[in-house]
Symmetry: C2
Subunit: 261 residues, 2 copies
């Protein structure tokens, strides 16, 4: 029976983690280690400057579940120390899409990246949120059934096959409103998902403070073939194969000569 680790960055109470547990029933022994708190946009941060607390929690359909007062990456490390190696790691189902080269900002994707560096094939899976209908919260009222269907399909495929050496992780995004008949597009990462800016405000004492505001890149700027185009324009399920090794695929002597170094 394969061993499957489930984590996320929305926290142990997220509706999305229950959805992942439901989606993976019967595919293996399921273990959950997830942050106690919301840790969105935590990147691949690790908790090295203070110790961690872990609380065992009850969860239906899993061998064991822990809430950790750390980051998504910490959860991977804790889970491996506690339960040994895994055959698959699933991070999600995230409340909100994670696309473009900004996936390294995402705690969801970063947990999957961490798992991949320990030779655990991994899936980051995210469900687009219709922000006109849903506030973020813990995902109450959101329909995870299609995302569950595609997660199960992808997880089953990954457990059955050995991926090429250059692919250690799949980044899956499901648009809201998708059904089981929605096509899957295999995509590359777009360059950016958000264009960040700074909004300056003045506090009651007259001192300035600053909010980072992310404005989604407009649809007409998106390039066909990217994850952003597949989800936002074509309304398809996007799967991007990820190589965690960011070394540029260029001839090293060429770069050396170009830079005269």
């Amino acid at each position: 029976m394969p061993k499957i680790l489930i984590t996320n960055d929305d926290g142990i109470r997220s509706r999305g983690i229950k959805a992942a547990v439901e989606a993976l029933q019967g595919l293996g022994e399921l273990y959950v280690v997830a942050p106690m708190l919301q840790r969105s946009a935590s990147g691949r941060a690790m908790t090295l400057h203070r110790p961690l607390r872990a609380v065992r929690v009850k969860m239906a359909g899993v061998e064991a579940a822990y809430a950790l007062d750390g980051m998504p990456v910490d959860c991977i490390i804790f889970a491996m120390a506690r339960f040994g190696d895994f055959d698959l790691a699933v991070s999600g189902i995230n409340l909100g899409e994670n696309m473009s080269t900004e996936i390294t900002i995402s705690g969801t994707a970063s947990a999957a990246i961490e798992a991949a560096t320990h030779d655990i094939p991994s899936i980051a899976v995210s469900l687009e949120v219709n922000r006109e209908k849903h506030k973020f919260g813990v995902g109450e009222g959101m329909d995870f059934s299609t995302a569950e269907y595609f997660l199960r399909k992808v997880a089953r495929a990954m457990l059955g096959k050995k991926l090429p050496r250059d692919v250690q992780m799949l980044n899956v995004n499901v648009p809201y409103g998708a059904t089981k008949d929605t096509p899957i597009a295999f995509t590359r990462l777009a360059k950016r998902m958000y264009q960040p800016s700074i909004e300056e405000r003045v506090d009651p004492k007259g001192h300035p403070y600053y909010w980072i505001v992310g404005t989604q890149c407009p649809t007409e700027t998106l390039e066909p073939g990217t994850d952003m185009y597949a989800v936002k324009v074509e309304r398809k399920v996007s799967i991007t194969p990820i190589n965690i090794d960011m070394t540029a695929g260029v001839d090293l002597d060429t770069i050396r000569n170009l830079l005269s170094l």
Copy 2:
């Protein structure tokens, strides 16, 4: 005159940021925006859930310097909002080496990655620390002169040339004890730098808590051609060209067929 942004993850008070300012004198107009506090291992985390404070600080040899109570990535976004576009971003000089696919854990490298996604060519530069001689702190007593020499050399080369499309960032690591005559190796990222484990302790009330412990991968396991091998075995200065797009370089139809999706 080119505009150069300097940041780091060790904080505005780090000796390494002064070293970067010294190294880059005369190459352009220098702007510093760095975290108020130590933010090592913060990854590409962004501060979206609370506003930021910024304090203008005095620093010799720069046009302007700000301390921001956020993450290294926030510093890039704040700097662009405040000062417009840059011709080069330099993150460092970090107290301690940043190598392997674990660079996405590093706040230093993540700031450079963020800059690169805004089309600012970037350099992450780190100086290996001799841990028998130096505690981390703010780098008092550390000799930055060789790291400064190589940073200046690399920055000058990058300002003068257009890098190939697939290279948006250079990750530079200088071993301690290096001199101006130390050779430069162009390298690929090693797989890991540290093997993490969990150390369980018991608090005065009898409850368990957990430290993440990183043990450096042993020298004999390092592969020639990697950044780790160059610095740890050959004692060379390592430069790794980085492509921020982690899409695996595989044929998408092949992956689709392999997974039958």
